[in-house]
């Protein structure tokens, strides 16, 4: 054991996206020693992909206030969001924007010098009245600007980075305290035990669960898998947002702006389908409504193409000038990936996995909370989560565009502030038992080929590539936009079989340099955990709410189901109440969600 490197920090942060870097900056500026581990170079984190922007009621373009923002977020969540956390986030939003400005994010400006704000879906003035304009953006590269500014600030504040290190598992003692994590260097395979008084998980989402996704390959839900293996349940995993217009078969996002400019969807009969589903809002109805409409058309045989497996987004009637001027990015994306110019031909699109609403349960201080006996939310000592991997829950059943960048910044900072207080009371490192370390090291070798052949001779060997492909297909077939009991039961069965087969995965490549095969095996294992939680929670929830649509239970059922799901390896499903009481204002009681 002596050869294993050990390092000590006040705080270990796993993940260097916007959530992780906002937290690390706050901690480093408070003169704490903070380590940030990231499997890719920090500025390659997925936050870089966010183009649309970040919500805050600044009222620079149209009247606005945080209370209206709160109402929209509660309604958007289909009343599954926790109203204390939502109030906290909406109140904190303007400050989060001004802080970013101070860190160097070049927000787009109005002529009067104030920060420009654009209108996004689900935003209203006056509790459901006229459209609001609440989204602040740095041109079409907001995520990039945020990530780079935060990274530079962290370098200045002397945050310690472990770039291209992969976190495998949390280290947990017999009393349930989290004491750090086992990580390894992707370049040379060297294991490092990072001991920390507090650990924050900020590993982002799990879009790679589905065959068609807008998410990059790195979004494999690693933190969610780590949490589950540490006995922590995952919350509301059945709520996965599908964006209606991803490029069919490939997934790249075609922004809502395309429909905003006058684009519309047609089915295999050449019919403008949204007129039937949303006569008023048509193609600009909310994301879940449009995604469901496309799925119904395809399921009922009115898809396009030889396999009738997509619909078409028509833009050509707008004319080349409009497309070139207002949607240049989309045009280039289509030419590059489809070899077609949307000024001439329609774009094949399909609802595409986009955002993980569920995740590791936390309170509004970022503390990870689990049910213990009669208490539904008991903090796990030393463990925090923030960002897309966490479920605070501000998005509930459906996230509003522009609320995720806000979420990661507000709760990254809140978690750091709580950690600072916690460390005042918990000044010393707990001694980690050698057993805990040696078990973790042993477990980190779980995909290595045994040097001794198994006694039975040739056991079945599974490969990561095959299992990953099958898993993504199963999730897409059985647990995407539309769900029903029979399909979900079959899906659960298939996912469980895949999890069993995962046990037979062995990696041929035993080298230590850039052993990406090993990384991919750990990632797949994490995806499997997410898949189990997602599909079991989806089967159990017999209602339709937000992004979770059951054909067999088409209505929302507040009496039985206004509660959060919790799924763990140990106990299967459990539930806890939604926090309907805000911090200072009246609750918003559930109402039918019409736009």
């Amino acid at each position: 054991m002596s050869s294993i490197e050990r390092r000590q920090f006040d705080t270990l942060i796993i993940g260097a996206g916007g959530g992780g870097l906002r937290a690390s900056l706050q901690l480093a500026e408070a003169d704490l020693s903070v380590a940030v581990v990231s499997k890719v170079f920090p500025t390659r984190s997925h936050t870089v992909a966010a183009q649309g922007g970040m919500n805050a009621a600044l009222a620079n373009v149209l009247p606005d206030n945080w209370h209206w923002h709160m109402f929209d977020t509660v309604k958007g969540s289909d009343y599954l969001g926790d109203q204390d956390a939502i109030e906290y986030m909406c109140r904190a939003a303007p400050k989060a924007v001004y802080e970013l400005e101070h860190f160097g994010v070049p927000f787009s400006r109005l002529d009067n010098g104030k920060i420009y704000q654009r209108a996004f879906g689900g935003q209203s003035q006056n509790f459901g009245g006229d459209q609001a304009a609440r989204t602040c953006a740095a041109a079409d590269r907001t995520g990039h600007a945020i990530l780079h500014s935060l990274y530079q600030q962290n370098i200045r504040a002397k945050t310690h980075f472990f770039d291209e290190y992969f976190a495998v598992d949390l280290l947990k003692d017999g009393e349930g305290r989290v004491l750090g994590a086992l990580v390894f260097n992707i370049h040379d395979g060297q294991i490092v035990i990072i001991e920390a008084k507090t650990t924050l998980i900020a590993t982002g989402g799990a879009g790679q669960l589905f065959k068609t996704t807008t998410n990059a390959l790195i979004n494999t839900g690693d933190g969610l898998g780590m949490a589950m293996r540490a006995g922590i349940p995952l919350q509301d995993m059945e709520f996965f947002q599908f964006h209606p217009t991803g490029i069919a078969g490939r997934g790249m996002l075609i922004t809502e702006g395309a429909r905003g400019e006058g684009g519309y969807l047609v089915n295999g009969d050449g019919e403008r389908l949204m007129e039937r589903y949303a006569p008023k809002a048509k193609d600009l109805a909310s994301r879940d409504v449009v995604s469901r409409a496309i799925s119904i058309e395809i399921k009922e045989g009115r898809g396009c193409g030889p396999k009738k497996d997509h619909v078409l987004l028509k833009l050509d009637h707008l004319g080349e000038d409009v497309i070139q001027k207002r949607l240049p990015g989309i045009r280039q994306t289509c030419i590059t990936f489809l070899g077609l110019d949307p000024a001439e031909s329609p774009i094949p699109v399909f609802p595409t996995a986009h955002y993980t609403m569920g995740g590791i349960p936390t309170n509004r201080y970022g503390q990870v909370v689990v049910p213990v006996k009669d208490t539904p939310e008991e903090p796990v000592a030393g463990l925090y989560a923030a960002g897309e991997c966490a479920c605070v829950s501000v998005h509930g059943g459906n996230r509003l565009g522009g609320n995720s960048l806000l979420d990661i910044l507000v709760f990254g900072r809140a978690a750091a502030n709580h950690i600072i207080e916690y460390l005042k009371e918990n000044k010393y490192h707990k001694v980690i038992d050698e057993d805990i370390v040696s078990n973790a090291v042993q477990r980190a070798k779980r995909f290595d080929l045994n040097s001794e052949p198994s006694p039975g001779g040739d056991e079945v060997k599974e490969t990561v590539a095959v299992l990953r492909k099958e898993l993504k297909q199963v999730m897409e077939d059985h647990c995407s936009v539309f769900r029903d009991k029979q399909f979900l039961i079959e899906g659960v069965d298939k996912v469980e079989q895949l999890c069993d087969r995962m046990k037979n995965v062995k990696i041929d490549d035993q080298s230590y340099t850039f052993n990406t095969a090993k990384v991919e095996a750990f990632e797949l294992e994490n995806l499997m955990a997410c898949a189990l939680a997602t599909i079991h929670s989806a089967l159990a929830r017999e209602e339709s709410r937000g992004a979770h649509s059951r054909i067999d239970f088409p209505d929302r059922d507040d009496k039985s189901w206004m509660r959060h799901s919790l799924y763990s390896f140990e106990n299967g499903l459990d539930y806890k109440p939604v926090r309907t009481k805000p911090l200072s204002v009246e609750s918003f009681p559930p109402k039918p969600r019409v736009y």
């Binding site: 890719v40 997925h46 870089v48 780079h148 998410n215 990059a216 390959l217 790195i218 030419i335 850039f514």
Partner: protein, 86 residues
Amino acid sequence: MNSKSIIETKTNYRWQCRRGMLELDLLLNNFVDKKVDSLDEKQIQSFDMLLSYPDQALLDLLLGNSVSSDSEISKLVSQIRSTPLS
């Protein structure tokens, strides 16, 4: 390249081509799978240089929204863009 260094280069590249955007993942990995073995020393240098760019700059180049002033990079970008996606 000899076969060992090809494998090492490929796995190294595979990680460097894991980026924050799906568009980059697809274009870069496709290129590594199909073309990296046939690159000469100079092209390898250009590819290393390209991979050191920030994601947003890389996206602008690979989608044709901007053009590099370095002719070697610019040639490589055309090669990546013209490698058929599987």
